[in-house]
Symmetry: C2
Subunit: 427 residues, 2 copies
């Protein structure tokens, strides 16, 4: 009760600058929080998220709240059932605060949200509101989604932990799709342990999402090792670090030195041949699938779409099936080639973003460093790792083998403890 | 040894009229047959197909034999490993006689093969040689493949049992693809029991074919009930029977009366709404995937392709990704709608083909009645059910629920026993 009330107050204070919320359900959240408090007083605990306030990207269906996907009215829906992931959070005891901003249809047209560290900078996207709300300490947990770089990049820009597990690990049923073969439900939190806890609740097959798989769900909290985990084996993607902005490349090189000095075993990883052209193939698949999903409305309602999604759908409509299929098989080849590389390490280390959050709200930044792991469906986590000269967060990305989330989270917890990032935005 | 020798003699006698073979490995077959005879004399049995001669459609790789796919030299390959299905037959003790004809790339351009019941009629396609060889008693077992109607229709025309299990049940690794999301390895034999035995050997996941699934493999022979199986529940697709040629529709109506009189429980099944336009959607998916597979050669080598595959690839090259994706989701909708219908019966009954094998070798006939179950990935079996006025075989198709092959084969064995088809082509 007090937690929810405190966050509502904090939201009132910070929201005019941050603009993260599109639907704040004060009364519903207060009601649930009161109920949880009464349950707790009676000794009853609903689940591991008992009373924990959460924020949801506005492409997740929540019964009784509109789903607007950052789009105009033609695309709004008024669901009467929760997305599977939302239902699982609720069943675990969560208090749903409401919906936060997304870029339009989770592509690149920005929302008005500002970065909590400096509202003249982008929070990143497409999970802009999710990252900004957690970064501004308006909520301890938010759900987002990542098709290319939409969870980890905003997490990096907002100084929080962003995590997407293996494709198919969390149901996407009840979430507005962008490109189903690349869409991942993701988690934005402040600490690796919270990501592990959320995954424990969210992971597992779902009949309503045929892309979920019945691969066993591990004990993710136990995988963290309780502070006594052995130093991880980390494969460093040096070629990617060298493509980051100089300040960030230097920072990440210094981070790898610290990891090594603390006992991590570092190896140099060379990108496989199929990395060439991967981003283009990914764009082909994303645009074609997005165009297929929007075909009932687009191009009929083209004027209702903002410019970036409109252009993507226009291109997507024209992609040939043979090019789509060739692009998809390119992504699979990359996935297969990366699989044998990733197995040799607990995590691969790359930048999360080129540098800190860019100035201005017209662009949500560059997903270049996140895209490969989205297209390969590999689990990935972004950890805040320091501050730039301008006082904005920097971030480290760790990537794991498919369905080896426990191993990845263990390595991430070890790095997190070493990095000991304690900075917070001025509020 | 004697069996292989007797079949080689029979092939020598009938082949000039039937033209089923493209690569007859007399010496290899004799060598293996001698080895099997010696093993048997020593009390050693390699497996359930010990010494059984088999024929393989010329799109299956066999180590040391060319794979020509009914195509010109540019497309030939000389594999040094067996297709997974071929390796499994070999490991079960089979004697590989050689390769039999296929239409070019398993589409519609005919091979020179004639129907063993009357060589002026088509044997059907694309598994023309597989059906003709089993129909002419040149081999007791042949492998074929079905993307639209390429196993069950030629089985019907040649008076044999044709069976394709659920999509993903048998590995297609090492088989030249036409449209991987519709391609099924199929079995051509003379009796349902032989189909069950072959499936037992062939079924199961394969790391080399990512479309195979790890669904448990049942005991298919036990599922036949050993002659004392209860009478099956059969759903009759009356609307499809009415679309068959009059003689065949009358025949199948009479067959349903006999099944009912013998104790089968018959129900009338109405096709779901998604049946409308299904064939067109199937063609979109098949042509687009075929065009993607042939893209390295087509249209560069268009002149090397015969007219029907050339037209299909030309159309396939021009299909838009959005139309491909819409067609694929149409096929899935049909699969899902059929799944709940099929679960209520042991088998659904439809024609296998419009009527008996058409006269002439320029067309391989109409796959209309087989296509829906290929696109839905449901298991289906064709049973010879009588002769037409012209003395050509007629056939009954039974369709089952996904992965319920044991149930389907049990129903088929019951029907087979009642139909008691004993006719054979004059040799």
């Amino acid at each position: 009760m007090e937690w929810t009330e405190a966050l509502l107050e904090r939201i009132d204070k910070l929201e005019p600058a941050v603009k993260a919320w599109v639907h704040l359900d004060r009364e519903g959240a207060r009601r649930t929080a009161r109920e949880r408090a009464a349950q707790a007083a009676g000794g009853a605990v609903v689940g591991p998220l008992h009373g924990v306030p959460v924020a949801l990207k506005d492409i997740f269906d929540v019964a009784g709240m509109p789903t607007r996907a950052g789009a105009k009215a033609f695309a709004h829906r008024q669901p009467d059932t929760d997305a599977t992931s939302v239902a699982r959070l609720r069943a675990a005891g969560a208090v749903i605060l409401g919906k936060v901003t997304t870029t339009t249809f989770a592509l690149m047209d920005p929302s008005p949200t500002g970065n909590p560290w400096n509202p003249a900078h982008t929070p990143g996207g497409s999970s802009s509101g999710s990252a900004a709300a957690v970064g501004a300490r308006m909520a301890p947990l938010a759900l987002g989604s990542q098709t290319v770089g939409s969870v980890l990049r905003p997490a990096a820009y907002c100084g929080v932990v962003g995590f997407k597990p293996t494709h198919g690990r969390i149901s996407a049923a009840g979430v507005v799709p962008l490109s189903w073969s690349n869409d991942h439900v993701g988690i934005l939190v402040r600490a690796v342990e919270d990501a592990a806890l959320a995954l424990q609740i969210l992971a597992g097959p779902d009949r309503a999402d045929p892309l979920t798989v019945s691969h066993p769900v591990d004990d993710y909290l136990a995988g963290l090792g309780g502070g006594s985990a052995p130093a991880p084996r980390i494969g460093v993607l040096r070629a990617l670090i060298e493509r980051a902005a100089p300040e960030n490349a230097e920072h990440l090189t210094e981070v790898t030195r610290r990891l090594s000095a603390a006992g991590a075993t570092l190896g140099e990883v060379v990108l496989p041949a199929s990395f060439a052209g991967l981003h283009d193939s990914g764009q082909v698949v994303v645009r074609a699938e997005a165009a297929a999903y929007h075909a009932p409305n687009f191009p009929r309602l083209a004027e209702e779409y903002p410019p970036k999604i409109r252009e993507a759908l226009t291109v997507g409509q024209g992609i040939r099936a043979v090019d789509f299929l060739a692009a998809r098989s390119h992504l699979r080849r990359f996935r297969d080639e990366m699989a044998s590389i990733a197995l040799r390490y607990d995590a691969l280390l790359t930048p999360t973003a080129p540098g800190p959050a860019p100035r201005g709200l017209e662009s949500t930044g560059d997903p270049y460093f996140c895209a490969p792991w989205s297209h390969a469906g590999m689990p990935a986590i972004a950890l805040p790792s320091g501050l730039s000269r301008d006082g904005l967060p920097l971030s480290l990305q760790l990537v794991g083998s498919a369905f080896a989330e426990a191993r990845l989270l263990g390595a991430a917890a070890w790095c997190e403890s070493l990095l000991d990032f304690r900075e917070a935005p001025r509020a």
